[in-house]
Assembly symmetry: C2
Amino acid sequence: MLCLSQTTGYAVLALSCMDNPCNGKWVLAKEVSECTGIPQAYLSKILHSLVGSGLIQAKRGYRGGFTLARPADQISILDITEAVEGESWLPRCLLGLVDCSQLRACPTHDFWSIERGNIESELRRTTLSVVAEFERSRGTRMGACCDTEEPDSTPNKPGVKRRSKAKPR
Amino acid sequence: MLCLSQTTGYAVLALSCMDNPCNGKWVLAKEVSECTGIPQAYLSKILHSLVGSGLIQAKRGYRGGFTLARPADQISILDITEAVEGESWLPRCLLGLVDCSQLRACPTHDFWSIERGNIESELRRTTLSVVAEFERSRGTRMGACCDTEEPDSTPNKPGVKRRSKAKPR
DNA sequence: CGCTAACAAGACACTTCTGTCAAGTATTAT
DNA sequence: ATAATACTTGACAGAAGTGTCTTGTTAGCG
């Protein structure tokens, strides 16, 4: 499968959700889970690791939660990807060959060198702010948390539940 | 990790090796293993699955082995990739999001649609023949089996052993 | 102080990928 | 027929990804 891990997608979703202006400063993992559909226990692990990477901050106990460590326009998808997948998330060889180098290349080496650059710069260019703007203009999935729909007369109830919890596959 | 599985790289290496004109029609898994450095037992499984996909043929018993089912210029890396990884080896969403579609896209959706096309057509364009020619012109890793070096006065001995068997990692 | 809210952390489970090992089966040579 | 050869098949094992569950730890409230 030529794609990033599902966990990276989860992380982008989660941080987009946390940037939502209708949230308070500290957002609960539970809220993010309900907003995005990411399993809460697993989300907690992801968020915890993102704390370790310095992208977000955590506060324990009553009225705790998570918050972005920097403004959303200073967090790129590339930042998130590297935080989740590590530095070598974009390998030198498309075919996964260990000893594929400039000297001893595979036939897709030159092609993939260019593509790698394209992909990396696209992910660097796309910040959480861009994600939010994209969401406003096109109605995407990301960050579509508490924005529209309900006037929200009962703020106690955690409302928006987009997925059923049981997701067989 | 944004790359194809190691097994796909193995398969491309192995089939390139099998196209080598100095081999007889039926090439032993053992020879391919020694030529490419792929663990033999694992290689056997890969080759067996490629038989099931119709890319190569197998012959058991004395003087058996494997051979390409079609001429090398009619086997593309895309064919091999799909045989190894299945049809959905290039997912619609770069971030691995399940419900990312044209209607409900992620911010990298349009970008990735274009890139996907580039990658797929590159892999379709690159046949085993192209691999062989690439090897001749640039001295790549692939298919670099028994081509040069020895005049090969003792054809009984399986000669070229490029890697030590023990490969700790 | 004691209660509750919320994150932290570890154990465990399931699947896939990668890889090894051994036994089985088919083909050819002699 | 028998032996040698070489693919076939299944069991097993370790690592990584994806989750779940339970217990521990911290922060604030009354």
